[in-house]
Symmetry: C2
Subunit: 346 residues, 2 copies
């Protein structure tokens, strides 16, 4: 059942301990704690170390720093520091000696450091080989382990929000960071945004519906390609949820806008945080009620019905497939795979 399946970027590696965001003393102690892990981000990209030989397809690893190695960066006014959470403990074993009331060791805390210092200089801080700030997040951030991808999903989303929302949208004034990097407050004491609770002070998340539309015959699915896609790549249709709209209505509207196909029943399957910059991809299956395709030329270059067998061949069998689908780290891939496995004998 894919409903409980885990998508890339979706792993909750850390316990966010959101109540600690307002606990200044606890945060200060954690910051200089020897166990604390810091990640360094430059232009929203995390420092990673890559396998020397990229052809092995090995994982990138996040470069982890101790307090001493970032202490100077934390002093700079342009630095953004975000408390990400603490490592989740493995299953507590009551026999473990560290579980006694006094000896309880708190698990290590993680912080993200966003800095605009020179990238080449930053890289010198790391002792690992082959370090870099990858340039293409849509490609390079898919090379992490599931655990680290989960951490980067949170960190990059929050940092992207800080970089785009450093002024108060209500009055245009500057803002200051609060709650360990999870809030921005207007510095204009007369601003409306300071009266009551307003979303202007909190990170923004954009819900997006992404859907695999199934042909009324049950044996074909609708995939489309944007002009910017690499040759041969087809994917699920997708679009931003609009104000005053349900997820299901957004699916129906976007499919009709982009392909002209009318959709009936819609079923939620699973979702995926996508930190470029901060989308929540809501994955659905949708049943088509019509089959004629008229693409929205502005957004879609081509959309087609693909027979199930052709999708299976492309994904699993063919050496040089007739078309390709996005990589396994994307919810588009997982939706297609889910459908392919639903009624056929793979």
């Amino acid at each position: 059942d894919l409903g409980q399946q885990e998508n890339y970027f979706g792993r909750e590696t850390l316990d966010r301990l959101s109540a600690k965001r307002t606990d200044k003393a606890w945060l200060e102690a954690k910051q200089s704690d020897a166990d604390t892990v810091y990640l360094i981000f430059s232009k929203l990209s995390p420092m990673v170390t890559s396998p020397q030989d990229d052809s092995t397809g090995g994982e990138n690893k996040l470069c982890r720093f101790r307090f001493e190695a970032v202490q100077d960066l934390l002093q700079k006014p342009a630095t953004v520091l975000v408390f990400l959470g603490v490592e989740r403990r493995k299953k507590p074993s009551s026999s473990s000696p560290s579980q006694t009331k006094e000896g309880v060791q708190e698990p290590p805390a993680w912080f993200a450091v966003g800095t605009d210092e020179d990238a080449a200089e930053l890289l010198k801080r790391c002792r690992e080989k082959n370090c870099s700030f990858p340039k293409a997040p849509n490609r390079d951030l898919l090379k992490l382990s599931e655990e680290e991808a989960g951490v980067v999903a949170q960190a990059r989303s929050v940092l992207a929000w800080h970089s785009r929302y450093s002024f108060c949208p209500t009055c245009g004034s500057s803002t200051k960071l609060e709650e360990a990097g999870h809030k921005r407050s207007c510095l204009n004491s007369a601003c409306r945004s300071l009266q009551g609770v307003h979303n202007t002070c909190y990170p923004r998340i954009d819900p997006v519906v992404i859907m695999l539309v199934i042909h009324p015959d049950g044996n074909q699915c609708l995939l489309g390609r944007k002009k910017i896609f690499p040759a041969g790549l087809f994917s699920c249709l997708a679009g931003f949820v609009e104000p005053g709209e349900t997820m299901e209505a957004a699916v129906r509207r976007e499919v009709e806008e982009e392909s002209g196909v009318k959709v009936g029943p819609v079923q939620y399957v699973s979702c995926q945080p996508w930190p470029m910059p901060s989308n929540l991809m809501i994955g659905c299956l949708a049943v088509a009620m019509s089959t004629d395709i008229t693409v929205d030329q502005n957004e879609i270059e081509e959309a087609r019905w693909f027979p199930r067998q052709q999708v299976i061949d492309s994904m699993f069998r063919a050496a040089s497939p007739a078309f390709t689908v996005p990589p396994r780290q994307t919810i588009a891939h997982q939706l297609i795979r889910h459908w392919v496995g639903m009624n056929s004998n793979l």
Copy 2:
């Protein structure tokens, strides 16, 4: 099956025709069209006419205006005009004479007008009796028909966004309205937000998870109350989805934060746009893996396990119930009702 059930505020009364938002000629023609419907909003509240005798519990109705009645408002620089869409045609009947190629009558367009003119003066424009701009949206906007609630969901969300986001969050400059009220662009030509596509230019929607937590015994549910709730009212727990988080992870985190209860499987049920100011309420059932309750005193005053029979009595049977749940227009109510009907013989 509640999965396809419709929640209040969720009706797609209008066809948004989003492609027309950039069609200036079409929009201009529609604005002065005799069939076009205008709604007037003051402080994010729509002008409505109420039944003379409120004790009948009758519906509020939106006051609808023609172009002539709002033409002067549209000239004012502070006015915000939003194109909402056109009325959905009833099932097209091919025999209908108006369906001939030449005689095709486009359905009426709807616009929302947000104005800061004096409210009392605005009310004089309406010929209906008992007109007002209701003061308490959480209560008063629940008195509309399903059709009108669907329109207000979109209109109020977009207007609330304009009222809070009139400055560019990236550089603090003023912005201008575009795309028929669905976009704001920075007036500073050097601003980063003008290079590429950025969410700063589009309406903000905040995804919120709202969940009914079921006791491991299957026969009790967890409800809580905030200090600000009226006496005796209990509801589902709820909370904002955070950056880099799935809906399911948000359910687990918020339930544990607010009640101390650990949650296992989570199942999406249905969602509801909630235009105060612009939330997308994502309704789930969640199965508890623990039962001890420790409430987060900052947010929750009390949380309790309620036996199914007690919930049924409160909702359907008791003249003076031991506790109350939110009204039927809320997704909280629908989630509770869904669970109550799932395994019991109502």
